[in-house]
Subunit: 170 residues, 2 copies
């Protein structure tokens, strides 16, 4: 007791060394990994990381196409941000837009053949990077612990992407 255990005091007390390492480490590790992976991808295929993520989610989606809003949600981008990003991808011939037959408001972004090809090249680079810089530092058991940790932190994002549309495909 004595000086500790008052909740308000404890809540605003400075972080101790262990807490600091856990928290700042997260920030620094994220920054370091993103920067390194982005640079790798850019150097090897002229592809920024965000672009890669878009292509990847599309490639993993049923017919290589996704609704704009789902895509935005998956890659943690605003809808407007996604609009411009897809503009760039379309300009570069990696995707095309396709209007949605069941909802005239909506659009699909669809991978082109060039998009698929570029993604498949880049995927090897990126996966190797993720493994080399991150996953390889941990045993499978530790990876599972990390995954478990994130589920505690995240609001409800248990699924890798809440956007898998349960809709009927064409």
């Amino acid at each position: 007791m004595s000086t500790v255990e008052r909740p308000s005091a404890a809540a605003s007390a400075p972080l101790d060394g262990r807490e600091l390492l856990a928290w700042r480490g997260l920030l620094r590790a994220h920054a370091s990994l993103c920067k390194a992976l982005d640079a790798e991808l850019e150097a090897a295929h002229g592809l920024p990381l965000t672009t890669y993520e878009v292509l990847m989610y599309m490639h993993d989606a049923p017919k290589g196409k996704m609704r704009m809003c789902d895509l935005a949600e998956c890659i943690l981008l605003s809808r407007s941000g996604l609009t411009r990003l897809v503009d760039r991808l379309q300009r570069d011939g990696l995707v095309i837009r396709q209007s949605c037959s069941s909802d005239a408001r909506g659009s699909y972004a669809v991978l082109t053949e060039d998009g698929v090809r570029l993604l498949e090249e880049a995927r090897a680079t990126h996966l190797a990077g993720v493994r080399r810089l991150f996953l390889e530092k941990f045993t499978p058991a530790e990876q599972a612990l990390l995954g478990n940790a994130w589920e505690r932190v995240l609001p409800g994002a248990g699924s890798p992407c809440g956007c898998v549309p349960p809709v009927v495909p064409s």
Copy 2:
């Protein structure tokens, strides 16, 4: 053997579920935490997260002042980015610039009284947020494991900030 165990194939094989949770969880947890903490800080004190970080490092530094380049390194920002950020802080009266007596090229950013006051208010909010959204999800032992994990990932950033200048004060 059969389809597995070839290193190159393994390196570019898709991530399995455990790996995916560990990796995407990191990305999503970081995004989620930063967004939430930034919103909290902005709502409570009109202070963006990056600004808070600058003020915090300065406050923790010997006389509430830090060299610009050290500061940039600490908060993971380019030097030019820091110049503008400190411009904004100076405009808002939270810091002032002070020329460095021992090196006429250099500048210190120094916390003003307003800056100290605002930081100390914001610090409670921020620390409470970090604890509530992140640290409280883990036991101390788990926090230590996380800290250990980051040290494996980070290149050489063992110290929380490599910028503590061993220089003489005044």
